[in-house]
């Protein structure tokens, strides 16, 4: 047994209640003993908000919500960036296609002109 346990045994010894305790109990029983309504012995439960596990659970739920919210936000931002990049690429392709088309038209018209001259 540890030192602190020995000290506790010594410090928490039994002590007698104030003089006349038993007489006062018997008097009270004489007055109230027959009453049927008794206070329930069941230990009162602490309100949920005061319980340690509830505080930890609430804290964990808040952290989980913040993390989940941040992940969703990051994902939405990435999707928006990808969409903008795709639109940019599409516009560039359209521009290139337009240029190629005009070049081809010119080549065709020059070819037709030379052919007419030779004839």
């Amino acid at each position: 047994m540890s030192w602190i346990e020995n000290q506790l045994r010594d410090a928490l010894g039994r002590r007698q209640p104030p003089e006349g305790f038993a007489e006062r109990v018997m008097e009270r029983i004489g007055r109230e003993g027959a009453a049927t309504a008794t206070r329930p012995v069941v230990m009162e439960r602490r309100p949920v908000l005061h319980r340690t596990w509830f505080r930890f659970a609430a804290l964990a739920a808040c952290v989980a919500l913040i993390v989940a919210g941040s992940l969703v936000q990051l994902r939405l931002e990435r999707q928006a960036r990808e969409r903008a990049r795709a639109e940019q690429a599409f516009a560039a392709l359209q521009l290139t296609a337009g240029k190629l088309h005009s070049v081809r038209a010119r080549i065709v018209s020059v070819g037709l002109f030379k052919k007419a001259e030779e004839e």
Binding site: F21, A22, V25, M26, V42, M43
Partner: protein, 177 residues
């Protein structure tokens, strides 16, 4: 005054004999009062709770099966009442500073009375669940299993709270030294 053999007073009290019940009160008053006193550190409230416990016993005598059961029942009821009382008090916001707790006259002891007084104050500052376990363990010499049964909590909870309570007290004592 009638002299009672063990168990006779209980049987007489169950039959409605007031002298038998008074004997039970005298036999167990120190135990019931001390649990309440070490828990609340308030003589008047401790007496009030002890009286209520005996009144409750009087109304439920027919449920008591033996002297051992009576001892178990009294320890259980007074512990629960003390915990309820402390929770009610803390919900009302009534807190007592450690230094404001009155220290009654010391018992004669060959140990250091200042150390014992300091320890009692520190025990009074423990959270109510730990305090009940420490009082039942070191005042009543109850085993952790018995405490678990009396307080309706798992054995491992009793062991961990007892360990944490002792650690807290040890650290406080070291700091004080």
């Amino acid at each position: 005054m009638t002299e009672w053999e063990s168990g006779e007073a209980l049987a007489a009290a169950i039959r409605g004999d007031a002298a038998g019940f008074a004997h039970l009160v005298r036999e167990h008053q120190a135990m019931v009062f001390s649990i309440a006193y070490h828990f609340l550190r308030d003589t008047a409230r401790a007496e009030e709770l002890a009286q209520e416990t005996f009144l409750h016993l009087y109304r439920n005598l027919e449920t008591i099966e033996s002297p051992a059961h009576l001892l178990y029942w009294l320890r259980k009821v007074i512990s629960h009442r003390c915990i309820d009382e402390t929770r009610r008090k803390s919900r009302r916001g009534a807190t007592v500073a450690l230094d404001a707790i009155a220290e009654p006259a010391e018992r004669k002891s060959d140990r250091d009375p200042f150390l014992s007084a300091a320890l009692r104050k520190m025990v009074a500052a423990l959270p109510e669940a730990q305090r009940a376990i420490v009082v039942l363990r070191y005042q009543e010499d109850m085993e952790p299993g018995e405490i678990a049964e009396a307080l309706n909590i798992p054995l491992n909870t009793v062991k961990s709270r007892l360990h944490r309570g002792l650690e807290f007290l040890r650290r406080k004592m070291e700091r004080m030294a």
